[in-house]
């Protein structure tokens, strides 16, 4: 009934994955080490930096504060899957155009976090964008360019719908 390692079945980027994992293994370590999905990064490992952000059942979570074993039966999406699906192509282009990344360590988490805000619709204020990104550290850009990129995409997406 209880075990140090557990068998799990989950869907990662639309593929069914079966694995045996140590109970203590975080979701982000499982994705990186067992599945070689290294787009999600490991930073602080206690929920502060946001570099490990991935989606579980459609919402963003901290990959370091979620155990792989808790994701048995869940649908997990990483930056690799979301990028390949083309879902955030406009956001990625805007980040590149506005120099919203330098070293790129925070970028996968930034993109997934920004996409969740953009999916809620409308054009959020810059203050709202900053608030939503408050759990994602960037040590290169000073955030200004990231906010610019997200704001531009929000405006473009809203314009496209009119």
């Amino acid at each position: 009934m209880s075990a140090q390692s557990c068998d799990i079945t989950l869907i990662v980027n639309d593929e069914t994955v079966r694995a045996t994992v140590e109970a203590r293994k975080s979701l982000v370590d499982f994705l990186r080490e067992d599945l070689a999905l290294t787009g999600s990064h490991v930073g602080c490992e206690h929920g502060v930096c946001g570099a490990c952000t991935v989606r579980v059942d459609g919402v963003i979570v901290r990959g370091c504060l979620t155990l792989a074993v808790q994701c048995n039966g869940a649908r997990v999406e990483t930056i690799e899957g979301v990028s390949d699906a083309g879902e955030i192509a406009d956001l990625q282009a805007a980040f590149e155009q506005r120099n919203a990344l330098q070293c790129g360590f925070c970028t996968p988490g930034m993109l997934l976090t920004a996409q969740e805000l953009l999916q809620s619709g409308g054009v959020p204020s810059r203050e709202k964008i900053r608030e939503h990104l408050s759990g994602n550290y960037c040590r290169c850009t000073g955030y200004q360019a990231i906010v610019d990129a997200i704001e531009a995409v929000a405006q473009a997406r809203a314009g496209g719908k009119r």
Binding site: A3, C6, E22, E45, L65, T66, L67, V69, Q70, G135
Partner: protein, 282 residues
């Protein structure tokens, strides 16, 4: 860092979870959203031998109005509560506090019951529960019991929960047209734990306020009521209430600020929150 090894069990019922707690009394921890617990395990601040995942237990993720109370199941997640119309309408203090709690990715997983049970002295929800004169439903070996918020928080990360107890719900008095509430905190970064915070409620009584409850957080071992300041504020004396805080609170220095700075900030927060309390509810 990585946590020390532990075993994992997913409980399918409260009875099963309580039985597992009994078998592993001091070496097991309950796992719900995990947003505080897993951070402390990663930092190896604690090393339980077993995590009992209670998120598969049915019926603990509901929000319902029962009589004059709002009952929030222990497994309701912060993001779910943020979207909930019952909470917006009948527990507006909770709605006001939720956006201050951590960040969106953490609110997507963290549970309200977990936050109350963990009882971090700098956390928002324990103070809200105290300010609202709420209560906690606990399920244990002998069945269910209810503990008032005033009796629930015992010390630093210590609560009325025993080793085989599970917090199953919190209940708050539903707001009426006379209910007043206020919330403010100082944090270095939006979503961080507060340096000092204040959750407050009261009842409009003519032009004044009655039943004022001021619950400060980040300022002691538990969320703390400032009872002398409550009395002064109910008498309409804001300046006296701010002065009275020095008799109610004795904040120790911590990593974020000295006790003197926290004391000053508590007064600033009281002034802001008193303004919110005196505004009419729209």
């Amino acid at each position: 860092m990585k946590p020390a090894p532990f075993a994992y069990a997913k409980a399918r019922s409260l009875d099963e979870a309580i039985a597992l707690l009994g078998e592993h009394s001091d070496s097991a921890r309950l796992l719900a959203g995990g947003q505080s617990l897993l951070a402390t395990l990663n930092m190896r601040l604690s090393a339980p031998r077993l995590l009992i995942d209670i998120t598969g237990i049915a019926g603990l993720d509901r929000i319902a109005r029962k009589g004059g109370k709002i009952e929030i199941g222990a497994l309701v997640r912060h993001a779910q509560a943020e979207r909930d119309k019952e909470i917006a309408a009948h527990a507006p203090l909770i709605a006001l506090a939720l956006p201050h709690i951590a960040h969106p990715a953490i609110r997507n997983r963290g549970t309200l019951g977990g936050s109350i049970a963990f009882a971090d002295p700098a956390a928002e929800l324990p103070a809200c529960l105290l300010a609202l004169n709420g209560e906690v439903e606990i399920t244990g070996v002998k069945g269910r019991r209810t503990v008032k918020a005033d009796d629930f928080f015992k010390g630093l990360f210590e609560t009325a929960l025993g080793s085989q107890d599970i917090l199953t719900a919190i209940r708050l008095p539903a707001a009426t047209k006379d209910t007043r509430f206020g919330f403010a905190e100082f944090a270095r970064r939006h979503g961080d734990y507060a340096m000092v915070g204040l959750a407050a409620s009261g009842r409009a009584d003519g032009k004044g306020l009655a039943d004022v409850r001021l619950a400060f957080f980040g300022i002691g071992a538990t969320p703390l009521r400032a009872k002398k300041a409550e009395a002064a504020l109910a008498g309409g004396k804001l300046d006296a209430a701010i002065k009275a805080l020095s008799g109610d609170l004795a904040p120790p220095d911590d990593l974020q600020a000295t006790g003197a700075v926290k004391m000053h900030l508590a007064g600033v927060l009281l002034k802001r929150v008193a303004g919110q309390l005196s505004e009419q509810r729209s």
